[in-house]
Every structure is written in structure tokens, then in C-alpha cells.
């Protein structure tokens, strides 16, 4: 699993629920978390989310990988809240934050990108009247997601090439070839999209 390859194939009930309902459920759950006032309420929410991960059969290491990057932010927020608002508030804020991220991760891990995009396109349909093309917006979102690993690869290649030539860090030496390669890739992707009938 990587930054982009979040979807975990499966056939659980959570995988089968339509993306729109999952997104709505996520929204309502996060609103409820923000409205929670007692730590026991967060405890119940945490248990429910854990049950959700179990139902979806998401391996623990995958779940952990979603939450671990939050550690510094949680720590910073916890310290801030402890100093200015007290321990109960720190638990409420950090707990809500952590559980909200876990809920979002659960939705992402059990929903294909195309299903998410279908929901986006459906939501954007009313904007057709003002000239917004939902299909095109969906394609842009898909391409944005797809291009992240491509750009990461380009930056890594440029960085490796710089190291191989024994050069020290230089923003210009890094940015210039990376931008040129990214623009070339953009041109090539444009051609490929035309070849795949995107202008139809």
C-alpha cells in the first residue's frame, strides 16, 4: 500500500455500500464527533470505528499506517490543549481528530476512486447549467490522483541523478529538470488522452 494505492480490495458489507452513502455517513459521523462533549462518547465512537475496520477486514498494519503520520500533529494539539484548556479538552480534541481520520481512512480503504469520482460527478451535475462539465472535473481529479506517484518518481529520479553526479543540494538544479520532465510528461499524457478518445 502506498500514498495513492489506498483501496483494499474486498467483498465486505462496507465495500459493497455505495460510495455516496459512505461519504454521507462519514460526514454525519464527523459532525457527531465534533458535537460530542464527553470522553465516553469518543470511546463508543472509537469502538464502532474499530468494528468497522474489523468488518472490512483491513489488516492492522494498514490501519496503523493511516494513523501513524498523525502523531506529531496530535502531539502538538494535545500539548496546546493541555496548556490552554486542560486535560479533558485535550482528550476530546485529539480523540475527535484521530477518530475522524480513522473514519475517512475506512471510507477510502473500502471505496474505489472511480466510485468516489462518480459521486463527485453526480454532485456536480446541477452545475452543468453554468457551464461546468462534471465528466471533465472527474477526469481532472482522477488525473491529479494518478499524477502524484508520477511526480514523486520524477523528483526521485532527478535527485538520484544529482547524487550520482556528486552534486550537493541545489534548489535550482533540482527544480529545473524536474519541472521540464513534468511538463514533458504532461504533453505526453495529453497526447495519450486524445488517443484514448477523451476529446470525443
Amino acid at each position: 500500500m502506498t500514498v495513492i494505492g489506498l483501496y483494499q480490495a474486498g467483498s465486505s458489507v462496507l465495500h459493497r455500500i455505495p460510495a455516496g452513502w459512505k461519504l454521507l455517513g462519514m460526514l454525519l459521523a464527523i459532525v457527531a464527533l465534533v458535537a460530542a462533549t464527553r470522553p465516553w462518547q469518543l470511546g463508543v465512537a472509537a469502538v464502532l470505528v474499530a468494528v468497522g475496520f474489523a468488518i472490512a477486514r483491513i489488516p492492522f498494519r494498514v490501519t496503523w499506517a493511516q494513523l501513524w503520520p498523525m502523531r506529531w500533529m496530535i502531539l502538538f494539539v494535545a500539548l496546546f490543549q493541555l496548556i490552554f484548556s486542560g486535560p479533558e479538552r485535550a482528550i476530546m480534541v485529539c480523540g475527535s481528530l484521530l477518530i475522524s481520520v480513522a473514519i475517512a481512512a475506512l471510507v477510502t480503504l473500502t471505496t474505489r476512486v472511480t466510485e468516489m469520482l462518480d459521486v463527485c460527478q453526480w454532485l456536480l451535475r446541477p452545475l452543468r447549467r453554468v457551464g461546468v462539465d462534471p465528466d471533465r472535473v472527474g477526469l481532472v481529479l482522477a488525473l491529479t490522483i494518478r499524477c502524484i506517484p508520477l511526480l514523486v518518481g520524477i523528483v526521485r529520479d532527478v535527485s538520484d541523478a544529482r547524487k550520482a553526479r556528486g552534486a550537493g543540494f541545489s534548489l535550482r538544479a533540482m527544480a529545473a529538470p524536474a519541472v521540464v520532465r513534468a511538463l514533458r510528461s504532461a504533453d505526453a499524457i495529453g497526447d495519450a488522452l486524445i488517443a484514448r478518445g477523451v476529446d470525443d
Binding site: T2, I4, G5, Y7, A9, R112, V113, T114, D135, L139, A142, L143, I145, R146, P149, L150, G153, S185, A188, I189, D191, A192, L193, I194, A195, R196, G197, D199, D200
Partner: protein, 226 residues
């Protein structure tokens, strides 16, 4: 097979002449195009599905002018690029293949059925939900090919599809291309891959310098390089 016709085709990028008076009629099942870097072969290949319009002259596919009827031509002519990373749009394998059918008018179950069939054909069915950027180079090129073939084109144009692959993957992709029922136009530097082809066109400095069955045409190209 479709009839791909180049009539008095000239093309230039700025002052540089890339194609110079090309006259070709390609109607064989498997056609190879070879030439040194800068000989114009990729430009010629891209003209077949209207990605590049000739500066003068005309390219037609079964009578359809690729400059004027680009969309219609592209529905009949699929294109496989050198770097599959540029051709893959969606984050997972099955989603990318399905992307090719998004405006086909097929229902979701029909699309899913066709996607499953084409993934089985290319032995990618075990990777259906796999992130595309984590595939090997060979698997990515197979995916690119699968995404083209699912639209059932009459012609597949492949521009150096094996250049970035190791020998094993290159052979696999080439065997698939050579064995396809669809008409194939393959641009390549790997001359040994053309043994099974019906016709080879050799380009040099934007002109056709040899054209015929593989042994004779490949010999002409080899002599040109030595």
C-alpha cells in the same frame, strides 16, 4: 484489414523536415516501421490516428481523413505509447481499462464483464485492484495494450512499446502484438521482433528507403547503419 494511405505527406517541425513526400498504402496484417532516431517514424505513426496532422498531403484510414475526421479515426485506431506511465490514467488496473469504455454506452455490468475478459487475456486478472503505478514495466505495457484493445479497434499502432522493457517482457508484448487478429503497425528498434511481420517500412531522413518483407527491408536498414 483497414487501408492506411499516406498521399504526398510532408511534415516539418519549424525548419526541420521530418517527413518528406511519403507515399504508402498499408493494408497488411502486421506492418513494422524502422529507422534511426529522428528518421520520422514516430511522427508517421502518430499521423495514423490523427495525433499529428501533416503539414501537407493526406493520411486516410479506410478513406477517413485523419486530419478532418480525427475522432472517428481514433475510434478505429488504437495507439500504444513508448512509456505506458503516460497512457495510464486511473489509479487501479481494472479502473484504467474501464476508463476506455466510459462513453461506450455499455452498462456497468457489461463494462465489468469486458474488463474481466480483457484482463484474463493479458493475465492481469490477479492485479485488477492493484495500484497501476506499482506494476512492473511489462505489466504496465500490457495494461496499456489491454486498455486499447478493450475498445475493439480495427488497427493498433504501437510506437516503440518494447523500448523500456527487458528482453523477456519485450518478447511477451511483441508476441501479443504479432498474434493479434487486429491490424498492427509497430514502430521499433528491435529488428528481431519483426521476423513474424508481413511488411517492414524503413525510414531515413523522413523518406522511405526500403519497403518489403522483413528479411530484405531489415537488411537494407542494417546496411544503412553500417
Amino acid at each position: 484489414m483497414a487501408e492506411i494511405r499516406f498521399t504526398a505527406v510532408h511534415h516539418r517541425f519549424g525548419d526541420r523536415v521530418v517527413l518528406d513526400g511519403i507515399e504508402l498504402n498499408l493494408s497488411q496484417h502486421r506492418v513494422g516501421i524502422v529507422g534511426a532516431n529522428g528518421s520520422g517514424k514516430s511522427t508517421l505513426a502518430r499521423m495514423i490516428n490523427g495525433l499529428i496532422r501533416p503539414t501537407s498531403g493526406a493520411v486516410t484510414v479506410d478513406g477517413l481523413d485523419t486530419a478532418a475526421k480525427g475522432r472517428e479515426v481514433r475510434r478505429r485506431v488504437g495507439f500504444v505509447f513508448t512509456d505506458p506511465d503516460n497512457q495510464i490514467v486511473m489509479p487501479t488496473v481494472a479502473e484504467d481499462v474501464a476508463f476506455s469504455l466510459r462513453r461506450s454506452g455499455l452498462t456497468k455490468p457489461e463494462i465489468a464483464e469486458r474488463v474481466a475478459a480483457v484482463l484474463r487475456r493479458f493475465q492481469l486478472h490477479d492485479h485488477a485492484d492493484h495500484p497501476t503505478h506499482l506494476l512492473s514495466g511489462g505489466q504496465k505495457q500490457l495494461l496499456a495494450l489491454a486498455a486499447v484493445l478493450i475498445t475493439r479497434p480495427d488497427v493498433v499502432v504501437a510506437d516503440e512499446p518494447t523500448t523500456l522493457l527487458d528482453l523477456r517482457n519485450a518478447r511477451m508484448v511483441n508476441d501479443l502484438l504479432a498474434g493479434m487478429p487486429e491490424q498492427v503497425v509497430l514502430v521499433t528498434h528491435h529488428l528481431h521482433l519483426l521476423d513474424q511481420f508481413d511488411r517492414v517500412v524503413v525510414l531515413d531522413s523522413g523518406q522511405v528507403i526500403a519497403d518489403g518483407p522483413p528479411p530484405a527491408a531489415v537488411d537494407a536498414y542494417t546496411r544503412l547503419l553500417t
